[in-house]
């Protein structure tokens, strides 16, 4: 079914990975890719309802000064669209109810978690049950990590992927749940879509620097129960071509980078689905 796929990439207030995220969406085949400043949403010039695929890129929303993406989450929860007075969060809420796709990377993942739209257990969105906090090392780090994909996860983004090698670039990426019960539910429902692991993509690891931040259970990314909302700390948009790979000058690598599959899965899901 040849459906037009429309993607929105939100930027502004400190977001900084919008260009490469939009590029990845275009490479993945999205027909429309708009980089939209959150001010344009707040002024009612753009609306989420006009898109199928929402991308929340990395960056430092409001400087992460109250903790990563914390102020950004509160803006979405409480800001209203100028003139209409519509709460911005309703646009997000409707987007989720409509079964559309949201991908958050790094600061975008932090935003989804702090908004509580991930993991959104039992469909209870906008309630924070997990968090991403300071790396155990106490420092920002840029390094490439191996990710093991949970093949039983409902996550539509990771379908058909066994593992991925991607960079992390964050200071607050340590995943923690509010309590053990929540962590157990995440595992039971296979919402832990990607975990840090060794170079063989086999076992999840707590060993630094393979697990770069000390994330509990080596969690690198989670999805909701529909599999349509997905957030992860590593940057799939940073590996769309083999020259992004840190060892491309010494390894035989396919032309296409490993991060692109995540975007392709999303675009294909929309093209074949119907909302």
């Amino acid at each position: 079914m040849a459906k037009i796929v429309k993607t929105i990439v939100i930027t502004g207030k400190g977001t900084n990975c919008e260009m490469e995220m939009a590029h990845a969406c275009r490479l993945a085949g999205s027909d429309v890719v708009d980089i939209v400043n959150i001010s344009e949403l707040l002024y009612g010039e753009k609306r989420l309802a006009d898109y199928h695929f929402l991308n929340l890129p990395g960056g430092f929303l409001d400087g992460d000064d109250l903790g990563s993406a914390k102020a950004g989450a509160h803006r979405i929860m409480h800001a209203r669209v100028a003139v209409t007075g519509e709460p911005l969060y309703e646009q997000f809420s409707r987007f989720i109810q409509d079964g559309k796709l949201i991908l958050g990377v790094c600061n975008g993942f932090q935003l989804m978690v702090k908004l509580g739209i991930l993991p959104g257990l039992k469909g209870e969105y906008f309630k924070q049950t997990t968090t991403l906090t300071f790396n155990d090392s106490g420092r920002f780090e840029d390094r490439w990590v191996y990710l093991k994909v949970n093949d039983r996860s409902p996550c539509i983004y990771t379908k058909g992927i066994r593992g991925a090698y991607l960079p992390v670039r964050h200071g607050e990426g340590k995943f923690i749940t509010k309590n053990d019960t929540i962590m157990k539910q995440l595992h039971r429902k296979n919402l832990v879509a990607v975990q840090y692991c060794g170079s063989g993509y086999s076992e999840p690891t707590m060993e630094y620097p393979l697990n770069p931040n000390g994330a509990y259970d080596a969690v690198a990314g989670i999805c909701d129960e529909t599999g349509r909302l997905f957030g992860l700390m590593p940057h799939p948009e940073a590996y769309t071509h083999r020259t992004n790979h840190p060892r491309w000058t010494r390894e035989d690598l396919p032309e296409e980078g490993m991060g692109l599959a995540i975007f392709k899965n999303a675009v294909n899901f929309i093209r074949n689905g119907n909302f």
Binding site: T11, G12, N16, F60, K70, G138, R139, E141, T243, P246
Partner: protein, 937 residues
């Protein structure tokens, strides 16, 4: 202090029991490692003070909502969260820092609001300049004007000019100068802004007593060389804007231009390493951003010069420990770069204990802009009389006042910490997001940044394009009341740009600004009156002729005298154990891995990283240069590299500069750049070269500066690499009491170039067993100023001498071989010479090497240690697949090179000496570990 009737609440937020406090642990580590105080545990608590008439319920809502992470944190309102502790240290914003605190176990710390409270009573001083020379000199120093007596007298004379007095009368000013005018002149005429030494008239005497004159180093050597290179390129000239704007502009391709600038922020970083360096990076960001019609920022490159972080002698007064400088600067640049979303793609750290006097913090930023914007070329600037003066971004406060003048002085007892501004990258990011949008809609005509000198500098400079300006300082948005007009004009508060906006576009501009949550204010208009006219409401507070403001400065007259230093020739024997010597070299600070710093910088954001700063089989080898793709979807790329070698200045700054230029270029060539589309930036950091009581060796230091400039002229011309912009910082000395520390004269040469296809780039790590190891270029006994001599306690005299013609030929051939895909790895030989380059090449690739020194091309060398560690320039270690041997050698024909060994399948690093005996047999894993250890903080 709280306003009467408004309650102040204090909210404390901390981690719950059982949640690891990684920041507290980091602070503890630093206390133990830096201060050597034993501390068991540190816990952190965030403190927020909220002022306003809020109910108990509302305060709770604030605490629970935006301030606390419900998963891991808990909060306390108006009581202490800290339980059991020995010491409670509160770190606050400046106004509150020194407030005395009382701890009450039930109530915690009493809340207070760190606010600057000033009286709104703007005042303008009028100063009588009709005084004697001594008073003029005292006035300059008392007011931190940093103006010399001839300069003060030029101002005195200006105010006696009847035509000037007449004109001033009409606007209500008398024959006395206002503080606004005097400060504005001091800023415009500061060494920092006017580069007086670089523009001075110099009589230079060489070692034979022969005198030559130089009328401006800048015009003669820097601009002179670029002009000649551009003329030689003729039609093919790809330089677009050089030396006239905030940054240099070159063509990238038909669709895009590149913009590049490097600056230093040394004095602020000495006083406040974090704030100084943070402001350094976000400050230099605004240079390419404020060039032409504005550029999108695509990468940062940073070079730091520090004293050893392991410094253990007593510290001179006011000097911070080098470890604190190191960590503070690193973190400042981390926050400035990462939070702005600009990748830090390349850099280096140089150690020399004389940088104790002043650390050097070089920050560079490149940008890209469409070659045309709405049909107009993007690299030029035009302002019309009648255009509005608009200030955009942050507000004005007392921060950073006198930055331009105090950085034009040595670090002394009274150097004000308050002169250090603290940047906020997010405010700036919002502003740049907005302005790029405004640029693409054609909403402004020109822009420039507010850096040193604030509005005085930005509006004063822009006004030259129209021929004048008239602004009203009362309109300027302030952070708090209590600023006098001169302070508003001079403030270096960050995150601000000044723009020229067509009155017909102003409404649209301001509407977009509001929408993007950025403050913009119309301050006045540009004119063609020939006057820099500043008002505060109705009152004129400054009225200066543009011509006098910008060209009234008398040229400095200086003398330089060159006497080549003579150092003791080293007499140490060749070491018995060469393996041990290599290990020692790998652990030297100037050679060892800088990975812990590199990792903390985002070097990949924007998605175009191709050659990263760390490379090789374990992503930890030291890349020579960076390659990035600025336009995703295209394989055209940019190469950026740096060259810096201050140690050679101990022998001859001419060769120091030549080596810095050669190093930058050969680093770029190593990854695949070609001469022909490479541009340079010269960045001089000198110690005061003006002869005076404080600087009795000023004539020698100035001669060093002349010589370095001559090398820039000679070598940029040979290589055809024009300087497109540059900067100088001339007062890198420390003087308190009898202690004077001057930095070694340092030139950072940075290059930026275009690479046609990034897929042809190569990295420095060996690739496959069986590959052949080539050494390119000839080795001479050039160990003067080398790491090996330094290791043995000598300086020596035979500094590396660059043979530009030969190097150029070799670089051209090597570039061709790389483009042809014949090179598996390429690493340049720099600090530590061939021995270090071979070891790094091997362990970065995770494979051993076997090399015969007897096959390495050399001349006049009879010792293995000299051959291994000589720092002769223009050399490379290259590995080539045996399949490509013939084609590679064919392309290199006519150059000095030799196949000296081969890559091994095992971990063994084997070197045979000149006489054929095995002199080193080591394990590359061990060598790497030794190389990684020293700065693994």
């Amino acid at each position: 202090m709280a306003v009467k009737g408004e309650k102040v609440n204090r909210i404390e937020v901390g981690f719950r029991k059982g949640v690891r406090d990684a920041l507290g642990e980091k602070v503890r580590r630093r206390v133990v490692e830096h201060l050597r105080i034993n501390v068991d545990e540190v816990k952190t608590i965030d403190v927020y003070t909220v002022e306003g008439n809020l109910s108990r319920g509302e305060i709770k809502q604030i605490a629970e909502g935006p301030l606390t992470d419900p998963v891991i944190q808990s909060y306390a309102i108006n009581r202490g969260l800290a339980g059991d502790f020995d010491w409670l240290i509160e770190v606050g914003f400046r106004p509150g820092v020194t407030d005395k605190k009382d701890w009450d176990p039930r109530k915690g710390v009493r809340p207070y609001v760190p606010k600057v409270v000033g009286e709104d009573r703007p005042h303008v001083d009028e100063i009588d300049l009709n005084v004697g020379d001594e008073s003029l000199t005292a006035m300059s120093s008392d007011r931190v004007l940093a103006l010399s007596l001839p300069e003060m007298k030029a101002i005195q004379a200006y105010l006696k000019n009847p035509a000037v007095v007449e004109a001033r009368k009409k606007v209500g000013l008398g024959d006395r100068i206002t503080d606004v005018e005097l400060e504005s002149l001091a800023q415009t005429w500061s060494e920092h802004c006017k580069h007086k030494i670089f523009n001075a008239f110099i009589r230079y005497e060489n070692e034979e007593g022969k005198e030559t004159v130089v009328d401006s180093l800048f015009a003669t050597y820097i601009k002179g060389s670029t002009k000649e290179i551009r003329e030689a390129m003729g039609e093919a000239d790809w330089c677009l804007s050089v030396f006239v704007d905030n940054a240099g502009v070159i063509r990238f391709n038909d669709d895009y231009n590149l913009v590049f600038k490097v600056e230093t922020h040394n004095t602020p970083s000495a006083l406040d390493p974090y704030g100084g360096a943070l402001t350094g990076i976000v400050g230099v960001n605004r240079d390419p951003f404020g060039t032409g019609k504005g550029a999108k920022l695509i990468f940062n490159t940073d070079v730091f010069c520090f004293a050893t972080p392991f410094y253990s002698k007593p510290l001179p007064k006011r000097i911070l420990h080098p470890r604190r400088i190191y960590e503070g600067v690193r973190e400042g640049v981390e926050h400035g770069g990462n939070k702005s979303g600009i990748p830090t793609v390349n850099g280096c750290i140089v150690f020399d204990d004389r940088f104790l006097g002043k650390p050097l913090v070089y920050c560079g930023t490149a940008g890209i802009m469409p070659s045309r914007i709405l049909g107009e070329p993007s690299h030029g600037k035009e302002i019309k009389g009648g255009d509005l003066v608009v200030m955009c971004g942050g507000r004005i406060g007392k921060d950073g006042i006198h930055g331009a003048t105090f950085s034009s002085e040595e670090l002394h007892e009274g150097s004000p910490v308050s002169a250090v501004q603290i940047g906020d990258p997010i405010t700036q990011k919002k502003m740049t997001d907005f302005l790029l949008m405004a640029r693409d809609r054609g909403l402004y005509r020109a822009l420039t940044d507010n850096g040193a000198g604030g509005l005085s500098s930005s509006v004063g400079e822009m006004a030259r394009l129209s021929g004048g300006a008239e602004i009203d300082l009362e309109k300027a948005p302030l952070k708090y009341a209590g600023l006098n007009p001169w302070e508003i004009l001079l403030s270096e508060a960050q995150e601000r740009m000044s723009l020229a906006v067509d009155p017909g576009k102003i409404n649209e501009f301001l509407a977009l600004s509001r929408k993007m949550d950025v403050e913009s204010t119309v301050l006045g208009r540009f004119t063609d009156s020939g006057k820099f006219h500043v008002r505060f409401a109705d009152r004129t507070v400054a009225y200066l002729d543009m011509e006098f403001l910008h060209d009234g400065l008398p040229q400095m007259q200086l003398r330089a005298k060159w006497l080549p230093p003579k150092h003791r020739e080293p007499g140490f024997p060749e070491p018995d154990n060469m393996g041990h010597a290599l290990r020692t070299m790998l652990a030297r600070l100037n050679i060892c891995s800088k990975e812990s710093v590199v990792r903390q910088y985002d070097h990949e954001v924007q998605g175009g990283s191709v050659v990263k700063p760390l490379t090789g089989v374990a992503n930890d080898g030291p890349s020579d240069a960076a390659v990035v793709r600025p336009v995703l979807g295209s394989f055209e790329g940019i190469v950026v590299a740096n060259g810096i070698c201050p140690r050679y200045s101990d022998i001859d700054t001419y060769h120091m500069a030549a080596c810095a230029i050669d190093e930058a270029i050969r680093n770029a060539v190593s990854v695949g750049a070609s001469l022909g589309h490479l541009a340079g930036l010269d960045n001089f950091c000198w110690c005061d070269p003006v002869q005076s009581d404080k600087t009795p060796d000023g004539e020698y230091k100035l001669a060093q500066l002349v010589r370095a400039n001559r090398a820039v002229y000679d070598y940029t011309k040979i290589y055809g690499v024009p300087c497109i912009s540059g900067k100088d910082s001339m007062k890198n000395d420390y003087q308190i009491g009898d202690t004077k520390i001057s930095i070694p004269p340092t030139l950072l040469f940075s290059v930026i170039g275009r690479i046609e296809d990034v897929q042809k780039a190569v990295t420095m790590d060996v690739k496959k067993p069986g590959d052949l190891v080539y050494v390119l270029g000839k080795t001479f006994p050039e160990l003067g100023g080398s790491e090996w001599f330094a290791q043995n306690g000598f300086i020596g005299n035979h500094v590396p001498v660059v043979n530009g013609e030969k190097a150029k030929k070799l670089y051209t051939a090597l570039s061709a071989a790389i483009r042809a895909g014949l090179v598996a790895s390429c690493h340049d030989c720099s600090d530590g010479g061939l021995g270090v380059a071979l070891a790094e090449t091997a362990f970065a690739g995770g494979l051993g090497l076997s090399v015969d020194l007897s096959r390495v091309p050399c001349s006049g060398i009879y010792r293995d240690d000299y051959l291994l560690f000589s720092e002769s320039q223009s050399r490379f270690v290259v590995t080539v697949s045996p399949d490509h041997r013939d084609r590679f050698e064919e392309i290199l024909k006519g150059n000095t090179f030799a196949c000296a060994g081969q890559v091994l399948a095992e971990n063994s690093f084997r070197i045979n000496g000149i006489r054929g005996n095995r002199i080193i047999e080591d394990d590359i894993r061990v060598l790497k570990e030794i190389w990684q250890k020293p700065l693994k903080f």
